[in-house]
């Protein structure tokens, strides 16, 4: 039994050693590989080959440039055309819309102004008529008032003159009949006041 254990322990030990050795070798390989990657190895090409490669590369490059330039030119031309068309269309449409809108606004403003002017004209005319009617009425009232005042004054003057003229030669005897008739005609009013006024 002990022998087996010793054998197994020996085998394990050998395997451990081998593992350590292989690990060390693997790390060395990795280090070399890293160094190789960091320091690319220059490719050495002969001069005629390099000149040929350069010539070919230049030709291919120029061809590609020409091709790309042509393509770009064509694209640019098309884009420019479309862009012009689009701009033209947009510009025309916008201008037309703006012009329409402007015309509508102008029309509305003109319509509003005309309406306002009509209203103002109507109001002014109405006010003028009212003013005229009022002035005519005032004038007529003032005329009537003055006329009535004149008539009153004239009546008072004439009445006073007549009464004054009559006052000098009063004959009560001749008036008594008139006086008694006047009293008789209003005796109820006088009696009413005398019986209720004490």
């Amino acid at each position: 039994m002990n022998l087996v254990i010793y054998i197994l322990a020996g085998v394990i030990g050998i395997l451990a050693i081998l593992t350590l050795v292989q690990s060390w070798q693997l790390s060395r390989v990795k280090g070399r590989l890293a160094k190789l990657l960091l320091q690319p190895k220059p490719i050495s090409v002969s001069e005629p080959t390099a000149a040929e490669l350069e010539a070919r590369l230049k030709t291919a490059y120029e061809a590609k440039i020409v091709e790309a330039t042509a393509t770009f030119g064509e694209d640019l031309k098309g884009t420019s055309t479309r862009l012009s068309e689009q701009v033209s269309r947009l510009t025309t449409s916008v201008i037309e819309e703006e012009l329409d809108s402007y015309q509508k606004t102008l029309e509305e403003v003109r319509h509003t102004a005309v309406e306002a002017m009509d209203k103002i004209r109507t109001a002014v005319e109405q006010q003028r008529v009212e003013l005229r009617q009022g002035m005519e009425a005032d004038l007529a009232a003032e005329r009537a008032k003055l006329s009535a005042k004149f008539d009153t004054k004239m009546g008072d003057i004439v009445a006073s003159y007549i009464a004054e003229s009559l006052g000098g030669g009063v004959d009560l005897g001749a008036q008594m009949q008139f006086i008694m008739a006047s009293l008789e005609a209003h005796k109820d009013e006088i009696k009413k006041d005398l019986t209720s006024g004490v």
Binding site: A159, A163, L172, G173, M180, I190, K191
Partner: protein
């Protein structure tokens, strides 16, 4: 006893006059009574207006006057509160005209009414009656004033 003023006493001024003369009569009567009591000769009775005499006679109704009776008359006259009507005319009416007007007022309105006559030449004619609460103007001036519109029309047509 309902005492009635004689018809001749128809105005406030006449009542004032009657009161004044009745007072004088009272003074004389009192003195005469004293003189008679002492056997002295009394002063001659002063003369009074017809209105005062009629009032005193109406007050005593044929009975003998007394100091108390005369004092009672004066007090009664002073206490009178009769309705007064002011009658304004263009000239002062004579006696008969006044009597007619007073009779008319007392017969047609109030038997106790007093009538005061006032003169205003400006009336021109007619009469203006002022009662305690109203003025009834039936004067010619008022008629002319009331008819001023007609007057104005006449003037305009002249």
């Amino acid at each position: 006893m309902a005492f009635k003023l004689p018809g001749s006493v128809y105005s406030p001024s006449l009542i004032e006059s009657v009161i004044y003369e009745t007072g004088q009569y009272l003074d004389w009567y009192r003195e005469a009574k004293v003189h008679k009591t002492v056997g002295a000769k009394a002063a001659e009775e002063p003369s009074f207006t017809g209105e005062t005499v009629q009032t005193i006679e109406a007050w005593f109704e044929g009975k003998k006057p007394s100091v108390e009776g005369i004092e009672g008359l004066v007090a009664h006259l002073r206490g009178l509160n009769l309705p007064v009507v002011h009658v304004t005319m263009a000239a002062l009416p004579n006696h008969s005209q006044r009597a007619s007007l007073v009779d008319w007022f007392r017969a047609q309105t109030n038997p106790d009414v007093l009538v005061a006559f006032v003169t205003d030449r400006n009336l021109g004619g007619g009469v203006m009656v002022r009662t305690p609460n109203h003025v009834f103007d039936y004067s010619w001036r008022q008629r002319l004033v009331d008819g001023r519109d007609k007057l104005a029309g006449i003037i305009k047509n002249v």
